[in-house]
């Protein structure tokens, strides 16, 4: 089942939250929606889930138009909103039962609730009130809520934000498992997260799509050169750095040098360079490229 978004625009007051966005997601795809805060990820999801209407443009879920039959679309969508809102004073089972009722799912509600509790690993916490759960378990309740009616399309808005690393791994695994048979769109502002889960990435910035590609090819694009931070014992002059082979760019950051090198093998040239100039390396560490750098690269290559 597919999701199709056609030149969607949403204007809040004078601000363009999203600006004629178009993309299509096919069944079995896990698409990562990547962008900094305020880029328009949540707005797009809110429109697809029929919570709000676009200013112009249209979106289709399974070929159904969001403007004509929102209730039918909501039947086929599982949506985890940002910040995972929950009825804190309900019990886990009670809450999931309520959601099952809202969906009028076929078959026994109680049985389905038990299935979901098992699937999302909530079994030890099933008799607790939601407000008593840890953040990771609350997130599982949110995901269970989105999955209970076995939707074709899943919209997950920052599903792992605020979780500790172990919980992140668990939730990611859960999403990847689910995503084998469904269309999943998830948003995130962490590159590594999208890399870990998605087979396709859509990067959105200031309401516009700046990249839409397979994860591998996008990573390959941004992997031109590596970034390392080096601390030399003795101060070095910028002119001396010309002797360093494989160097693309260098920047002095409070005594430490941020070096951009051609590839990972060029690291040994840094040692050779230190030896040649009679210097010593105190520290050398790789720098993970953050989203901003990815953006810069992508927007640069486009121009």
């Amino acid at each position: 089942m597919s999701v199709k978004v056609d030149s969607l625009t949403k204007i809040y007051g004078s601000q363009r939250a999203i600006d004629s966005i178009s993309f299509e997601v096919k069944s079995g795809e896990i698409v990562g929606f990547l962008g900094p805060n305020g880029a328009g990820k949540s707005t797009t999801m809110k429109i697809i889930s029929c919570f709000t209407l676009p200013t112009s443009g249209n979106a289709f879920v399974n070929g159904i138009d969001i403007l004509t039959d929102p209730v039918e679309i909501r039947r086929n969508i599982g949506y985890l909103p940002e910040h995972n809102p929950l009825y804190e004073d309900m019990y886990v089972r009670e809450y999931l039962f309520f959601i099952a009722q809202l969906h009028k799912i076929s078959g026994s509600y109680s049985k389905r609730v038990s299935e979901m509790i098992e699937l999302t690993g909530l079994t030890p916490e099933r008799h607790k009130k939601i407000q008593e759960l840890s953040k990771g378990f609350k997130q599982r309740v949110g995901i269970a809520q989105a999955l209970i009616h076995n939707p074709d399309v899943l919209l997950l808005d920052e599903p792992t934000s605020g979780l500790d690393p172990n919980q992140v791994v668990d939730i990611r695994k859960l999403i990847v498992d689910i995503g084998k048979t469904k269309t999943v769109i998830l948003s995130s502002h962490i590159m590594q997260e999208v890399q870990a889960m998605c087979n396709r990435v859509i990067i959105i910035n200031e309401g516009k799509i700046v990249a839409d590609d397979k994860t591998e090819s996008l990573v390959a694009k941004t992997d031109k050169g590596i970034l390392i931070q080096v601390e030399f014992k003795k101060a070095i002059k910028r002119a001396d750095l010309n002797k360093l082979k494989g160097l693309i760019h260098a920047e002095n950051q409070q005594g430490k040098w941020l070096l951009k090198l051609n590839d990972i093998k060029s690291r040994e040239f840094v040692f050779e360079f230190a030896v040649q100039t009679g210097n010593t390396i105190l520290e050398m560490s790789p720098i993970r490229e953050n989203l901003e750098q990815v953006f810069q690269q992508i927007t640069n290559t486009k121009q």
Binding site: K46, S49, C50, F51, T52, L53, V71, E72, R74, R75, I77, Y79, P81, E82, H83, P85, L86, Y87, E88, D89, M90, E94, F98, I99, Q101, L102, H103, K104, Q145
Partner: protein, 242 residues
């Protein structure tokens, strides 16, 4: 709609909200009816529940906004509104579910006060010598009055994500339609529209019902007034889309 109704009812009774509302309603009215000098039924000397029916609209004026204020305000603030609105239910189903749940609570508060009715009935001399038609009419009127208050409360709750603002707003609108309109009627300049104001006032129809005559005009007034406020709530909820 039924799922939402059940959830709200569960929420009222699994927290202490419902019990507080019911007890406060009974105690406040009971004190005036049985205890306080001047107003108590023994000094009054007649077997009637007039004191109860005079006071109850004022008690509801505070209690009903207090139970409705969280309906949408809380959901909006905590974001859960986005959860239910992404489920296959329409806005009007959500509003009606909440409306009937709150209205049920009003009914649950009213029901135990039948004990007062029964006591007065037994104390009358001879037993049962009271205006039974008028009492039932008053009860029905009180229920419909509660129904309008609840719809006003829901509208106020949909207007703000702050519960206190919702409460005060609902209190004021209830006061306006119950009492202030009547007071305004006395003012000189607007006398030509007096009949219109009289028609709009909740009190007019409440008193008319308490005579024991179930007039379809009063019923239509109460039902259409509730519907109007619910419709306005729906418009406010639609606003999220723009």
């Amino acid at each position: 709609m039924f799922a939402i109704y059940l959830k709200e009812i569960n929420n009222f009774f699994s927290s202490i909200i419902a019990y507080v509302v019911i007890i406060v309603f009974l105690v406040a009215n009971g004190v005036f009816l049985w205890l306080l000098p001047e107003s108590n039924i023994f000094d009054f000397g007649y077997a009637s529940l007039d004191q109860l029916f005079e006071l109850a609209p004022w008690v509801f004026m505070f209690l009903v906004p207090a139970i409705t204020m969280r309906s949408f305000a809380e959901e909006r603030k905590s974001g859960t509104l986005e959860i239910i609105l992404s489920k296959p239910v329409s806005d009007i189903q959500i509003i009606l579910g909440k409306y009937f749940a709150n209205l049920s609570l009003v009914l649950f508060a009213l029901l135990p006060s039948l004990v007062y009715f029964f006591s007065v009935y037994q104390m009358a001399s001879p037993v049962g010598n009271m205006d039974i038609g008028g009492t039932w009419g008053s009860y029905l009127g009180l229920f419909f009055l509660g129904a309008v208050y609840v719809s006003i409360g829901l509208l106020a709750s949909s207007l703000s994500d702050n519960q206190i603002i919702s409460f005060i707003l609902a209190l004021f609108i209830c006061f306006f339609f119950y009492s202030l309109l009547d007071m305004l009627r006395g003012l000189l300049l607007i006398s030509p529209i007096d009949p219109f104001l009289e028609y709009l006032s909740i009190n007019t129809h409440y008193i008319s019902m308490s005579r024991g005559v179930i007039d379809s005009r009063d019923m239509i007034y109460f039902i259409s007034f509730s519907a109007l406020f619910l419709f306005l709530s729906r418009l406010i909820m639609e606003k999220r889309k723009w």
